[in-house]
Subunit: 239 residues, 6 copies
């Protein structure tokens, strides 16, 4: 059984990390999952948000946005509307939680790492690409701090990646593109550490509720996908 | 093993539905999960949002808000800040999706049912109480339409309820109150139909990533809880 | 002469104070004037707004809001529109002024008492019910401070209550419900202390200007109503 | 007994109407109450707001604003803050109600008259000056419609003016300037028709509650003041 | 060749400075360019904006606004819309830059002078009238500081004025009124110091691009106009 | 005389057009002026804004934004602040006017072309790079309409490009990078058509006013730069 772009159900799209994509950010990765492209820029700032001040720990957070013409039909800028949509705010909270889950925030010290995830082109899976690329940008920012002598050791305890899975025509499929996502009866996103533990599980019955067997199948497929993404992250970081 | 309030790990808090709590709404339920109290008011409006017009189907949506002093420490009104927090917008999208999942929107006809979920008192689990109570308010609104002859049959294909589960001191526990939720290493919310299928699965590693075994334990506990909530919904609606 | 609900022109609707309605607020009263229900929650906070800092005095303020479905026809949340209506802002300023008028702010010390008045159900007179209930919630919060040893004596110099009066079919009537208010040619609100002095007088010719005689009749009726409300406040607080 | 500026307690400040102050508005009056100066510009627009459409009646409304440096200490522009203060919104609602009270809105036809009241210089009594000047601007706009043949007769059934009164050092005083207003224990605004009937009564105990006798004294003083303002309006309009 | 109002192409409209127009501002000038009237009020405040703190220098800034009925057709208040238009923000930045260009900000000391430019009546050239009048208001504010002994010498190194020029029916014309501006193919604004140097040059091809010869002709005309405005500023300030 | 990056004073930075940079936009150009990179995406939409409806003409407009980490120090997103800065709004108005100046809007028909200019990396000259790249994206969008048979001929009457010039250390220099721009005493932007006519001229004395001779030198340098940019645009479009 083949998908529209020739993939098998349990195959990722071509994945590509372009490190150093812009020159000023402390970490800068253009992450491609097929035609989806997300620019992940890490910024290191001294200090932490007010609610953490004086507690001797750092913070990692994220912002997410789509360029208006990342999509087939242009969508208006959120700056023009003057507020974030619910979807945007959900996604940026998810990215932040995912990165914090694999970092020892006390070891980071009283500094903040903010990852800007800007979608240049969207063909499904922008939030999972953002998390997967943000990890690499975060890693580069952290090792910059080590090189400059501001940190002695990495506060990153593990790596993290994310992938979407879904039921399309009643088949579990990995890493949905936009056309598949649109038709999926059930849509899930998994965020998984390099050591194979879950950080986030989010599943939505878009069209019909789903059974325990289906949940288990999707979960297994996602673990396979994240294992592969983890290998590619390691390969990129070793380069 | 007993919890602070005397419950076993797989026991719900006292659950209470107070139907007809206010007099103008087409369905009005004060939902109590222990000390958590959410007022769920259903409003029936003719017509549908612009993006659905002319497609011969209805819509169900929800709004969620906390009274400022629902919590131990007062939190400012979102109206004063002029925008919804990310958390609020996430929750109201979740409630809306959960209710739409069990309704035949074409059978509803070109009308909108909006459920206002206002938290009067918050002791953990406000979003799951909101979904569980909103189903009953939705049901009352739908049967009002039937009584008035505006609908011939119910467009509700199933019922829906929700519950939180989490790992507290490494034990899976059902229906966390605020103190438990605060200490939980992992926190999940499940939305489940009366027939035992999943509508939404959301899990977050608050403190540490979790294993597949832990995911399965939490899932099973949630299914038990929702089965019980379903029975109580049925009992209430038969009354 | 009888009104639609059987009252005489100078009779209040059934008035009921439900103290301790929620558990976290320092004072919590569900105030009922007939079918109108306003939840008044008092919060004590250390410190005062910037404009009062360092002047050795306290502050009392209020916020007012209606739940969307408090009314027969649902009205949109102000949080969704991102700003307060003129009506809301007028009412919350009125409640704050009324409570400050009977309190010795220096004796209160550098702390703020904020009363949240949330209308659960609206059948006319929500602002007068809010003031009348807010006094009781304020009283409970103040006596909490005394019990905890944070205040030696009450800074409350008097009590305060409020009532609406109006010309309906050219007859002065007390405590208008929504249907009466809608038809009233003239609509006034009086805020009166327990000792019978005026704190606020607000009258509006909704349909036709009014004479000095009519003004005097309405004033007298309001004094009668507030005297009765004062007695009920005292009875509640003695309980 | 003399006030700081030499007036007796029941004397108005010098009152001056400068008609035709700007050239584009359909009515334009620079209203002076002593050093208080309010520019009242009337605009006639075809059509009515949505809530009145198709009911065969017109509408009169007002907007009120202070130039930032109308006052001794500059206050920030509301446009910069992005929302109206509660005080501004209260005042513009008051001006609109006062003008509508003396107009036959059906005779006005389906058009809107909007009065912009911009305070160029503020020395107390800006809202009462605004109402008194707005009436003259409204009158000029209405007679412009008659001259152009768009109306056969004036829809204005009466005139309207407004004045402040207050208890300063326990004496009732008319038309308070800023220094008096600041010290007043009680502050009231009355809006009165040319025929001596009340349109609005607003009284606030700024410092101490007030008795029925004090209320009556202030009311009488205000009636005297408005009778004098009415005479000056008539004289201006005859010129 | 004569223009609609009888002027030659290189003639300014009647220019009039009314100093001391309001009483509280440290400098207050009602500036008239023909029928255009801009009230320029200077406010002196201690301290500087955050980005300049501790650098031992002052700041000059401006705000610009039109009264709603300054124009033939009323335009809505920006406060009601909750944000500044692009045009307003462009103009207020221009006024601020123009004034700072002729002031030694270090000699001003750590204080801010804010010029509020409010257009009472608009007949073209409001931004150039605002700059020309703002200079006089700034001058008055600065000399007030000298008189009070807060400054020893004036930090103003030069004067500044501004004028519009344009190609109307292919002829270069000086100081366009609204009707000319509306028809102009090219529209330029020049800000020029008393010593004849350029501070700002802004030209826009409204209808067709323009040649180097046309640019030079417009530039020369503007220099003539600003020389004349400079003479009038000096005459006013000597009075 | 050489600049920091080895250029002569009248030399542009390396200029590069990357057409087809994203796949969904009707025209998509990544424009590089040295290290400055602006993504220009053209979107064709049926219909025109309300103020043009029914006039048988089209519209061209632009939006401009910087990614937060386009710069050395991160700047907050405008969406988070809920409004556009004055600078952003000035720039997007400039880009729109520049493109409309070379287009026959009637020949375009009742459609809108919107150019999104998003700065991925900023090293000075982002607005001039945006205009120069936007022209190419506009051209591609227009020729797409011709290829699809929706237009018979191009409504573009000319091409347009833009460049910055400035006085750095008293020398006129072309195409300033960020470090030069920061030190420039005078900073100008010129928008020039392919046939050598001016569309926009904007000059600001950042540090000192400038003479007529300096204005003329800068103008000539800009004309040289735009002539070169025009040649590169033509070469790109022929490819």
């Amino acid at each position: 059984m083949r998908r529209a772009d020739g993939r098998t159900p349990c195959e990722l799209r071509p994945v590509y990390f372009s490190r150093g994509f812009t020159r000023y950010a402390e970490g800068s990765v253009l992450m491609s999952f097929g035609e989806t492209r997300v620019l992940c820029n890490a910024t290191v700032e001294e200090g932490v948000p007010a609610f953490l001040r004086g507690q001797g720990q750092g913070w990692i957070t994220a912002e997410y946005s789509m360029l208006p013409r990342a999509t087939q039909v242009r969508s208006p800028r959120e700056a023009a509307r003057g507020k974030l949509s619910g979807r945007t705010s959900e996604i940026q909270r998810l990215i932040g939680r995912s990165l914090r889950a694999i970092c020892d925030l006390e070891a980071l010290g009283e500094r903040t790492i903010l990852i800007d995830c800007d979608v240049l082109q969207a063909d499904g899976g922008t939030r999972t690409a953002a998390i997967t690329g943000a990890y690499v940008a975060l890693h580069d920012a952290v090792f910059g701090l080590i090189r400059q002598g501001q940190l002695n050791a990495s506060p990153l305890r593990d790596s993290v990646s994310a992938v979407s899975v879904g039921l399309v025509d009643n088949h579990p499929m990995l890493d949905l593109d936009y056309a598949e996502d649109f038709r999926a009866a059930v849509d899930m996103n998994f965020v998984v550490t390099g050591s194979g533990l879950f950080v986030e599980v989010q599943g939505t019955a878009e069209e019909r509720p789903f059974s325990m067997q289906e949940l288990d199948d999707l979960r297994n497929l996602a673990l396979t996908g994240c294992r592969e993404l983890h290998r590619m992250q390691m390969r990129t970081l070793e380069a």
